[in-house]
């Protein structure tokens, strides 16, 4: 098969322990463009793949800061700057009465930050993916575990990579086209 139109090699595993150990071996073999696909997050897989801590937290933090600042500035602008009105003899602006809405906006913008940050980091939505065209791969949402080494990886070799995946215990290996 032509290497140019191969997306990568897909190796299927039956248990979470098998895929975890396979991932450790592939990580140690020095691959870079590869991934593990599981029906649920497997505990310890981030470490087995050598992934670093997710950066979603920064998006949520940024959202929270923006939310709180927006709330405080908005209420100051509306009630103390643009159209000050005395209500019940209370001050035009106080951080105390501005706090509850600002608190809610912190949470609101933080939540948007974490959801959209997650989608951005994962480059989702992505409605076309070579793997999603593979019939057998559809079992990934059912009960199977897959390890995929992309042809774009510098260490990728159709024969040697296949041998490695056989060695780590996969019983079903196939090449998926682009």
């Amino acid at each position: 098969m032509n290497k140019l139109n191969a997306y990568g090699i897909v190796a299927e595993f039956r248990t979470s322990a098998d895929i975890l150990h396979a991932a450790e071996r592939v990580r140690d073999a020095g691959f870079r463009k590869w991934d593990v696909f599981t029906p649920f997050p497997v505990h310890g897989m981030d470490r087995a793949m050598g992934l670093r801590n997710s950066k979603v937290g920064w998006f949520a933090f940024l959202g929270g800061v923006v939310g709180y600042t927006t709330g405080m500035l908005m209420i100051w602008f509306m009630n103390a700057f643009d159209y000050p009105l005395v209500v019940g003899g209370k001050p035009m602006f106080s951080p105390f009465f501005a706090f509850p809405p600002s608190y809610e906006l912190t949470i609101l913008f933080g939540a948007f930050g974490s959801l959209f940050g997650m989608l951005f980091l994962n480059r989702l939505p992505r409605l076309h993916h070579p793997l999603l065209k593979n019939r057998r791969f559809a079992l990934v949402t059912h009960d199977r575990f897959f390890l995929v080494i992309e042809s774009a990886d510098p260490k990728y070799s159709e024969t040697e990579t296949r041998i490695l995946l056989e060695q780590v215990g996969s019983r079903h290996i196939e090449v998926v086209e682009e």
């Binding site: 979470s16 696909f37 809405p101 409605l127």
Partner: protein, 476 residues
């Protein structure tokens, strides 16, 4: 199920750690997908139509009542001087309180690592969203002139005046709308991997397209799961202070005023506990029948029901403590108005409302101390309904009894709801059940990938997850 060849010598954990499994009968990963997705596949069962049709009829009645109220005015309700907040605000607080259990299950129990939550969180979160939708109708409508609702938003009105944020009613707008939005985000994010399950099982083009579109191209990649789990954790961390703030702010609508019976500092925690209490009542009311009809006994096990009964008991006891403390403070404050307000609750013209509340909220849930009651589904179901009735009466007691005796006896009155109040309230059940029935028919009502994640097969260090003896020894 595992691929181990040799026999396993697994050391038995100490008895106190040996808990019943979360998924009964050692069901496989595939069984979970098949069981949950099959509920949405094939033709809709007859009972679904039998429930949907009256729900739609009630929803139609709701729309008619809202149209009648908008075209005629708030005078069609029973609200009358001195009781200017009647069933509208009672039902608003009641519905929004019900929502709180969903967020407690999805967020707080997630942070507390309560793994049993996975079986019930999806349905409970759906309940939250639909309950908040029912709640949202009331504040929008009770302003009387709904076409001025936009004055609540931070937009200058026609005289360039902005909303003024010194009022807790404005805080409430932000709290409730944030609560709704974040609940929807959290629910949707939990649904993404399960929508991918539905997409991969779909047989018709329409289903493949619809589920595929909303699954956003989810592949189950671990690089994605890594970000996903972090985002889920953060959303849980954000929803926890959110859910505690929402009912606190709702309670401030009352507590910031000067009315005896409302002007109390105990309100925020007392309202939050009551909200979670009523929400668990509703979760049990919904899930006990569904569990039997859908044959989900292996996913929502007796242990799940048992744990939820214990939460109901705990929050019900907190609520009971708050009732007692309110009376103590009314006596201890030395304020004659405060004392009168509370004696009037128990012995005044609405004594029946007060005692219904006490029986349903404080007395009946105490039966959950006894294991036999927690394991009798009929008893649990009946108590769960009584909890919801009791919590409705709690809001009735707080709102109507506090208002019907004004400071001057010449302002005293007696409040009764009108037929429009009653029909609007029944109509919100139509909205709630229509949405809930559509949810259980078209979306996975159990969080499939989360339930898979708490099975022993998911654990790479468990023999059912494929762990070999040497790995086990390694992790000793």
């Amino acid at each position: 199920m595992g691929t181990h060849g040799t026999s396993l010598a697994i050391p038995e954990p100490p008895a106190e750690l040996n808990r019943a499994p979360l998924v009964g009968n050692n069901r496989s990963l595939g069984w979970i997908s098949n069981r949950v997705c099959s509920l949405t596949e094939g033709r809709a069962p007859i009972w679904w139509w039998i429930l949907l049709i009256p729900s739609l009829a009630l929803l139609g009645m709701l729309l008619f009542m809202l149209g009648y109220q908008i075209s005629t005015g708030v005078g069609v309700w029973g609200n009358m001087h001195p009781v200017m907040w009647g069933w509208d605000i009672i039902n608003f607080v009641w519905w929004i309180g019900i929502g709180h259990a969903g967020t407690l299950i999805s967020a707080i129990l997630f942070l507390l690592r309560q793994r049993w939550r996975t079986a019930v969180n999806r349905a409970a979160e759906a309940m939250t969203i639909f309950a908040v939708m029912c709640a949202g109708i009331y504040p929008a409508l009770h302003v009387g002139r709904v076409w001025y609702d936009w004055w609540l938003f931070p937009i200058p009105n026609s005289n360039s005046i902005w909303p003024q944020f010194r009022s807790p009613l404005m805080w409430d707008v932000f709290a409730v709308s944030t609560y709704f939005t974040v609940s929807v985000l959290f629910w949707y994010m939990g649904l993404i991997p399960d929508l991918a399950v539905m997409r991969d099982r779909a047989r018709t083009k329409l289903k493949q397209f619809a589920y595929g579109l909303f699954a956003l191209g989810w592949t189950g990649s671990n690089r994605h799961w890594s970000n996903y789990e972090k985002a889920y954790l953060i959303l849980a961390g954000l929803s926890t202070p959110l859910v505690l703030s929402v009912h606190s702010i709702v309670s401030l609508d009352f507590a910031v005023s000067q009315v005896p019976g409302w002007h109390t500092t105990i309100f925020p925690p007392y309202f939050v506990a009551g909200a979670i209490f009523s929400g668990f009542g509703m979760v049990l009311t919904l899930l006990i029948p569904l569990r039997s009809i859908f044959k989900l006994e292996d996913i929502i096990t007796k242990r799940h029901i048992d744990v939820m009964c214990k939460v109901t008991l705990a929050t019900g006891s907190i609520v009971g403590y708050a009732y007692g403390m309110e009376f103590f403070i009314a006596w201890y404050s030395g304020s004659p108005y405060e004392r009168y307000a509370f004696i009037n609750r128990a012995l005044g013209p609405y004594w029946w409302g007060y005692w219904t509340m006490i029986v349903c909220n404080v007395v009946v849930p105490q039966l959950f101390w006894i294991k036999a009651f927690r394991h009798n589904l009929v008893v649990v179901f009946i108590i769960s309904i009584l909890v919801n009735i009791g919590m409705w009466f709690e809001r009735f007691v707080i709102i109507v009894i506090s208002l019907h005796r004004d400071f001057l006896p010449s302002n005293w009155g007696y409040y009764s709801p009108s037929w429009v109040d009653i029909c609007t309230y029944l109509g919100t059940f139509g909205l709630f059940f229509t949405l809930f029935l559509l949810f259980i028919r078209y979306l996975p009502m159990i969080a499939i990938s989360e339930v898979k994640g708490v099975t022993p097969q998911a654990d790479p260090h468990h023999p059912l997850g494929g762990a070999k003896v040497k790995d086990m020894a390694l992790h000793e």
